[in-house]
Structures are given as C-alpha cells and as structure tokens.
Symmetry: C2
Subunit: 213 residues, 2 copies
C-alpha cells in the first residue's frame, strides 16, 4: 500500500490532466506528456504508476481512456464518496457551497452543528443538530468527515465521529487531535500556511537586502 501522500496527490493531478488531454482529442499519452502537464519528471510519472500497479505499453505509452479508468478506480471514484461536515461556521459553510466536489464524486450529505440556531433541515445540504450525527453516519454508512469547528470543540467532534464509525477526517482546527482508535487524519492549518508564506517572503527580502550590501 502507498503511504506517500504526495504520490496520491500527483495521481489526482495526472487524472485531471488526462481529462484535459482527452478533451483536446488525444487518445494516448506518454510519461513525458503527463510529466510536462503537471510539472514533474517522466521517471516520477512511471514510478508513481509502478507504485499503484499501472502499466502501459512499451513504446506505445498509455491509452488515455484506460488510464483514466484505472486512476479513478485507485482514487475511489468508482463509487460516490459520502462526506459529512461538522461545524457550520465559515469554513464549513464555504465547503458546503463549494461546487467542485460533485464532479469529483464527493457528496457532502449533511453538516452538523451544536448551535440549534444554525440548523436547517431544508436546503440542499441540511444542517442538523450534532446529536443526530451518530445515527446519520451509521444509517448512511459514512466513513469520511470534515472537522470545521473551533479548537475547543475539535477533539469532542472527533470523538463523536470516530465513535460513529468514521475512519477518515480532514481537520481544519489548528490543534493536534488524538483519535480513540486508528484513523486517517489529514490536518489543514490555514494560519500556518499563511505564516509560512510570510516567513519565506520576509526571509527573501532580508537575504536580498543582505546581498545588496
């Protein structure tokens, strides 16, 4: 099994590039085309494919249709991926309104919030009371959830999610979560992402000033 997150993300990028290539009329593709398309080396492409057991034709490259099919299967696009969001705040709402998930076969079935004033049963994606999370997740056999609650509520949210059978979490709370049993947790910390940009810009500015002397 692959454990390299970068590899998975590249597989997604290959797939997106392949859709564009197919639309422009291409039928087959070589590792160097794909490499150019996403900005890596051809050997990286072949290595990634080798990791996940994708093979092409010596000298003949890869059939785009076949390749898209294989990548979709590997990335879990064969079936609809059902997701819930916990926390109907800014980030949670942004995710619910985001249109890009549908075309990727990802469907946010519901959002949950502890604040009854934020709950709305009507609407394309219902916002339900947190209490209902467990039954909902079990009923819909949901495995993936997003945590978009304040820091102080994040661990409790995770505990409920895990207890309900969720085993993969995308976490936006800037806090280290401890799952009660093994789970996939992917942390996205927007503050740190912005801080890292700030650091590198400032560092560059300092270096340039320094070297100008």
């Amino acid at each position: 099994m692959i454990t390299n997150k970068n590899c998975i993300i590249r597989l997604s990028r290959y797939k997106n590039a392949l859709y564009r290539l197919r639309e422009s009329g291409a039928v087959k593709v070589f590792s160097n085309n794909l490499a150019d398309a996403i900005g890596v080396l051809p050997s990286q492409v072949r290595k990634d494919f080798s990791f996940v057991g994708i093979s092409g034709n010596k000298r003949g490259g890869y059939q785009i249709d076949v390749l898209i099919g294989k990548l979709n299967s590997i990335l879990g696009k064969d079936e609809l991926q059902k997701v819930i969001v916990v926390g109907a705040g800014n980030i949670g709402t942004a995710l619910m309104k985001y249109n890009g998930f549908e075309k990727e076969g990802i469907k946010i079935l519901a959002c949950f919030d502890i604040d009854p004033r934020k709950c709305r049963r009507s609407g394309k994606i219902p916002v339900l009371p947190l209490k209902e999370l467990k039954d909902f997740v079990i009923a819909h056999k949901i495995k993936i959830g997003v945590i978009a609650v304040p820091d102080s509520a994040a661990q409790a949210a995770l505990d409920i999610m895990i207890a309900s059978g969720i085993s993969g979490v995308l976490n936006f709370a800037p806090i280290a979560l401890k799952p009660q049993r093994e789970a996939v947790i992917n942390n996205v910390n927007l503050e740190l992402e912005l801080e890292s940009v700030i650091y590198f810009v400032n560092a560059r500015a300092k270096t340039e000033r320094g070297s100008a002397i």
Copy 2:
C-alpha cells in the same frame, strides 16, 4: 536560509506551545519538553533551532521568554503583517471572518472582487473593486496576498498582484500558477486534501478485507 517548509511550520508550533507553557508558569524549557508538546523528537527541536541560529544553555535548556522573542522575530511577528484577499466568495469570506489571524499579527486590510455587487466599502474589512487593487497594494506596501477566486480567474489575479508588488501568495485555486517574476506561492487545494483522506481510508479498508481472507 531555510527552505524547508515543515521546519517553519514546526517553529510556529514550538512558539504556540511555548505560550501555553509560559501561561502555566514555566520559565525555562528543554528540547524534550518542546518535542513532547508538538510530537517530534528532541533532536528535531535542536536541529530546527540550529537551522535558524537559536541557541540555549548547555544543561540549562532555553529561557521561554527569550525563545518566544527569537521565534517571533524569525517568523516575522515583530511587525504587523498586512495581507489582502482576492475573491469575496466562500473561501475569501471565511478568511475575512476568521478571528485567529489577529492574535498572530496578521491583518487582512481589504478584499478585492471583480463583481461590483460584492463590494462594500463599509465593514471591518472593506471589499473593493479589483481595479483598485494595485493602488491599494502600493499605497499600503503590501507584500502578501491570498487568491480565493475561481480557477479561471486565478492566473489573472496573480498577474495583477505580482504587478502591484506582491511577492508572496497563498493560493486556493486548484490550478498551477505561473508568476511573472519570482514569488513565493503556497498552494492549498482543499479538494486534493479531501481526496487524499478518501484514498487512504479506502486503501486501508481494502487491505483489511484482503488480510482477513
């Protein structure tokens, strides 16, 4: 100069942990305390400090106050970091409403949108017409910007930003951007982050089914 983004992110985490330690009354700290606090090895802590020229006292650890000061200086917290956001959609709005930036010395001065209906001069953070971006960025000497516009508008947004003097960008558009001159670009792709969780959950499920046979 450090080029390792992970290292910078750890420095931020050390700093946050140090604030907590100081609040609980601690005055000095050892590399293993910090390591425990953020979940890395003590040698990683010392290595990171060595990268950025932070030194402590042999046998005496590090003075928390001094250490916080040094980290803040390295991370650019000495001065207010002024940031603009381009795109007043879901993500842009979520960032504007997010309260965590202020305590980190990050201030979103304004948001810009091409759609005049989204513009509001009043309000804590004004939403201004995109046309005004250049003058605003020059007038306020802004170096950092966030791209939160749809894919199709992202490259144009970057071009305007770069032309206005911005040299660091946090980009939420799921597209590869090409800066017209050298710039720091940090891409956050929420879709890929979620897809990677989905992959690892599915992969684990498959492996477990496989190994159960």
